[in-house]
Symmetry: C2
Subunit: 238 residues, 2 copies
């Protein structure tokens, strides 16, 4: 199904554009993504609804391809120099069973950090990423962009840390003096690695749920960027 | 020296504002920075020239404090919600002798990545960060912001990788199949860790200078974000 669209007022373009707002994403359980690499990763998971591109793209027969002008593509894209493809993707809400390795993001507010942490969790074979209620929206365009397609290959859900208490080892990255060096952690088979807010760190309620608190030994400066800390921890803990 | 400034046309405000442009930063060997934490780190290195703040700030006697309105502060700041202080800092161009642990940034183009990598290099006790000629400007406001004050505590210079050939072990982070697992690296006392461009990776010319090429073992995805990869490598190699 290939169609040429020439007007910005076309209903498909308008619908796609409406997905820039969180309430429309949630109502339709769909979101916008871009780049050919992400499209490839989304196709592999059967999560592509419809594609907008400036040139022909090879797609499965049942996925509509809309050929659009540069201007329409720019309107849909969140990048200054889009790659030439924007697509509508389905939110992946399949139930996740047997998630042994879980990354929990507690009030992460920067979308670049959230996307990067999702990408890193996929790279280290985590089963699931869970975000707290007050974290930035998973389907924010900047999250999607910085996940580099990982959002399609690892399940990401909102959820409560407390639901893992008892079944999983809850490991909290915490800058307090009582934390142990992460190199000395005795890792259990099922665990949740918890990373906290960029400026405030781990909240009190979250600390109460910790089975163990860990720290990365550093010098000269109070803390690392949360994506960097997450990378160092996931490289070891997986 | 405390002065109240009420006009955006005040010459000190205009001078500070001019430092948002690279050519003015280079001509004056000065740049803009903000946040109280960065101010503290810059004061510790005697790199503060002049301060603009909405409230009184304790400063050494010889450093001028300009009390300004919220509006003037917002004009000087690069943040949507500035902390209440912006300052002019001197570029640190003291000669760096005996730099044994060097981070080399080869064509890093994202200012957030560069700032984060500078912050991480400080945290792992590197002696020096060197950036290639075609990397983003060290004194770009986003680099300064994401360095979180580290720019004042670790020397950062433009330079050529070739000047380290022979004296330092040149370790290149490279996704090619010939690279060894970074965990198996035999580290020498003097080394340069090289990280490449966000999309293109390591350039051909840089590869030729490598004494050893290393890779981080990952799954499911081609690569990590360069700040994350840098963090994982520097945590091990320092």
């Amino acid at each position: 199904m290939i169609k040429a669209i020439t007007s910005k007022d076309n209903p498909r373009v308008k619908f796609a554009y409406s997905l820039k707002e969180n309430k429309n994403r949630n109502a339709n359980k769909m979101f916008l993504a871009e780049t050919f690499k992400s499209l490839e990763m989304a196709l592999a998971q059967n999560l592509v609804v419809e594609v907008f591109a400036t040139d022909y793209v090879e797609l499965p027969e049942d996925i509509p391809l809309n050929l659009v002008s540069e201007n329409i593509l720019k309107k849909l894209s969140s990048n200054v120099n889009p790659e030439g493809v924007v697509f509508i993707a389905k939110m992946n809400d399949k139930e996740v069973k047997n998630a042994n390795k879980v990354l929990y993001l507690d009030e992460i507010s920067d979308p670049g950090n959230m996307g990067t942490l999702i990408r890193t969790a996929l790279a280290f074979n985590y089963d699931l990423v869970v975000t707290s209620e007050n974290s930035v929206s998973i389907y924010n365009e900047k999250v999607i962009n910085s996940s580099k397609g990982a959002i399609f290959a690892i399940p990401v859900r909102k959820g409560n840390l407390s639901s893992y208490k008892g079944t999983h080892q809850i490991i909290v990255s915490d800058l307090s003096k009582n934390s142990i060096d992460f190199n000395d952690l005795e890792l259990k088979d099922k665990f949740v690695l918890v990373l906290g807010n960029e400026s405030r760190g781990i909240s009190k309620d979250t600390k109460k749920l910790a089975d163990v608190s860990i720290i990365i030994p550093i010098s000269n400066i109070d803390s690392l960027n949360v994506s960097v800390a997450g990378g160092i921890l996931m490289n070891k803990i997986h």
